[in-house]
């Protein structure tokens, strides 16, 4: 190392024990060696940082009031230098975060990495999944156009159907009989204050628990084979993480340039010609609710609340009832079939919702 850099390093090391920190961060042993399948967690962290950076830049111009939210967003798009790109990056970044959460959860599920002793990591991960979805839901309202307004109306109505807490939650979020200034203020505060704080805290806990339990490693291979292939986090896994982050950054940038954010009309209590629709990652649920089976008060409760809540509870309970130490997905046919069925259902229902939208128009 350059003598000057060495001096700086030694100075910092003397004060904060940099060597131990470096050993802990970079010399984490990875059983079975580095893998592309392990990049999702790091990529999620990267997307969150980018969302925070672009979010702060947007807040320099955004005004969270019902009178000015729409105009300030249009100002960002049309007047601020590169504002359209920053806003579009933030918009597509939220979608990327949802995709990566699904990919990360799928990888953990298929690798059987939720099993003992990693049950708490899985539970914290599920809470983080909820936070990411809440980020998308609260951020969607902020531009205050027809799309934002009506997606929120539909979302809050769905929430209203939850027994016991639904009415309170809906009233708390709306802050009045119809979405207005109070709703926007609450969504804004939750989006920029509550959720980032919760995410940072839980992500820190998630990482701490992960480092304590250690990576699960591949689900195949004898202990001798895995030991022979064991590698440190640096440099191979770090390199893979960096490449994956670059790929995600470039993909989001390409989407932001190709399909930038264009607002609809300013929000108003009359939907007019606009057919309300949630963000694409909620489309499967939206389509499910169109089925006759889920019509009526009870049907809507069943489709919008009971089934998703039961599914989340099932996921939370998974490490506690699936106690077999077998992690190889090809020797866990129920797990493989369940994952395939859920993913196929989400895909089919999402495509159906898109076809249905064209059919309605």
């Amino acid at each position: 190392m350059n003598p000057l850099l060495q001096q700086v390093y030694d100075f910092v090391d003397e004060r904060i024990d940099l060597k131990t920190l470096e050993a802990k961060m970079m010399k984490e042993p990875i059983k079975g060696g580095s893998r592309w399948a392990y990049v999702f967690g790091s990529v999620l962290l990267f997307i969150f940082i980018m969302q925070a950076v672009t979010g702060v830049l947007l807040m320099f111009y955004y005004i969270p009031s019902a009178d000015h939210a729409y105009d300030s967003t249009q100002f960002i798009i049309h007047e601020v230098d590169y504002g359209w790109f920053i806003l579009s990056y933030h918009f597509w970044g939220s979608s990327a975060m949802v995709v990566m959460v699904f990919a990360h959860m799928s990888q953990v599920f298929l690798w059987g990495a939720y099993k003992s002793p990693r049950e708490i990591i899985w539970l914290v991960g599920l809470a983080l999944f909820g936070i990411v979805m809440a980020f998308g839901f609260t951020g969607y309202l902020l531009p205050w156009d027809q799309r934002a307004y009506w997606a929120t109306v539909v979302g809050v109505e769905i929430m209203d159907k939850t027994p016991l807490v639904g009415d309170f939650m809906a009233r708390f979020l709306k802050g009045g009989p119809t979405p207005g200034q109070m709703t926007l203020s609450r969504f804004f505060v939750i989006h920029v204050m509550v959720l980032p704080g919760a995410l940072m805290g839980l992500a820190g806990l998630h990482l701490f628990l992960f480092r304590s339990a250690g990576p699960a490693g591949p689900f195949r291979g004898s202990p001798e084979e895995l030991k022979a292939k064991t590698d440190f986090f640096f440099p191979r896994q770090v390199w893979k993480d960096i490449v994956a982050m670059a790929a995600v950054f470039l993909t989001i940038s390409a989407l932001a340039i190709f399909e930038p954010v264009v607002l609809l009309e300013q929000a108003k209590p009359d939907p007019g010609d606009y057919a309300p629709e949630p963000e694409w990652y909620f489309l499967f649920l939206f389509q499910l609710l169109r089925w006759k089976l889920f019509a009526g008060e009870f049907g809507q409760f069943l489709g919008a609340t009971a089934i998703p809540a039961a599914f989340m509870l099932l996921l939370a309970a998974l490490p506690f009832f699936d106690r077999s130490p077998e992690r190889n997905i090809f020797k866990r046919p129920i797990a493989l079939l369940s994952w395939t069925a859920v993913m196929t259902a989400i895909l089919v229902l999402t495509v159906s919702a898109i076809i249905n939208r064209d059919f309605l128009h």
């Binding site: 592309w36 249009q74 798009i77 049309h78 007047e79 230098d81 590169y82 359209w84 790109f85 022979a228 292939k229 490449v243 670059a246 790929a247 470039l250 993909t251 940038s253 390409a254 340039i257 190709f258 930038p260 264009v262 607002l263 389509q287 169109r290 089925w291 006759k292 089919v348 229902l349 495509v351 159906s352 076809i355 249905n356 059919f359």
Partner: protein, 286 residues
């Protein structure tokens, strides 16, 4: 003894190599795509598509070569020498072009046929059991997308089988079995890939990253190209040249001086012309 490359399934081998090569080349192609988009050149048509294709070829050759060498050395203990990337790329591309061409028509035909069959079946069922629109859309989608996906997967497997067969051929022709253990082989491969001067490599990477970043921001439009109808682009204002009286007076003086000079020349010419005209009749009379 059988060559290690022949012991693995062709489909698995081709999948492992093409999957790895795809993700290895992806970030580089993504850089090209982003720069093209920023420069208003859609990478799916015209010049943008040509640029993407031309730049993708060497990226794919490099990625396939890297993936193949790593896979054979680390998993099979076979060191593959020679132009393995080029060899695999042209064979994979040729096979892919044929398979994709046939698959395009086969999948399309199956989808059309199944869509018609699904519509007819559901119409017939609706005669005695009404099917609501949302349910009908999903059932119809499942009825045509399932067979179409199966046909697409079959063609993918055919391509993988053929490509795997060619990969094995290349491995047998160009490969030599390595005698070292796994760690020794990995170290050997690392020593080929990692340059001796890591600082130089880091500096080069940084320089390229900075150059690409600057290029991106230079190419990217400052204001949106997708304007909202209520926010039309500001009218182009023709900037009027500012009037500076002193300069204007100087220019006028200069123009007057020039005009006087021209006038003087013209007057002289006129005088000469009159004199010639007067002199002519006299000379004619001689």
């Amino acid at each position: 003894m059988a060559h290690p490359a022949t012991t693995i399934s062709s489909v698995k081998l081709a999948w492992a190599l093409s999957w790895t090569a795809f993700w290895t080349g992806f970030p580089f192609k993504a850089i090209v795509v982003v720069l093209l988009l920023a420069a208003h050149m859609p990478p799916w048509e015209g010049a943008g598509l040509i640029v993407l294709f031309v730049l993708s070829a060497p990226i794919d050759v490099w990625a396939l070569g890297l993936a193949a060498r790593t896979f054979f050395l680390e998993r099979m203990g076979v060191a593959v020498n020679g132009p393995v990337g080029v060899n695999l790329w042209w064979q994979g591309t040729a096979l892919g072009a044929v398979t994709l061409g046939v698959a395009y028509y086969a999948v399309g035909a199956v989808a059309v046929l199944c869509k018609q069959a699904a519509a007819a079946t559901l119409d017939a069922v609706s005669q005695f059991l009404p099917i609501p629109v949302a349910e009908r859309i999903t059932i119809e989608l499942m009825m045509w997308a399932t067979p179409a996906s199966i046909v697409a997967i079959v063609f993918l497997l055919i391509w993988l089988k053929l490509f795997g067969w060619r990969i094995k051929w290349v491995a047998v022709a160009l490969g030599q079995t390595s005698s070292g253990d796994l760690q020794a082989r990995v170290r050997e491969w690392d020593s080929w890939r990692v340059p001796a001067d890591s600082i130089l490599m880091l500096l080069s990477f940084t320089a390229v990253a900075v150059l690409l970043t600057v290029t991106f921001w230079v190419l990217l439009p400052v204001t949106t190209t997708h304007r909202h109808p209520d926010y039309p682009p500001p009218p182009t204002v023709v900037v009027k040249k500012q009037v500076k009286p002193e300069e204007l007076l100087k220019q006028t003086d200069a123009a007057l001086v020039k005009a006087n000079a021209v006038l003087a020349v013209l007057e002289q010419e006129q005088v000469k012309g009159t004199q010639k005209a007067k002199a002519k009749p006299a000379s004619q009379g001689k």
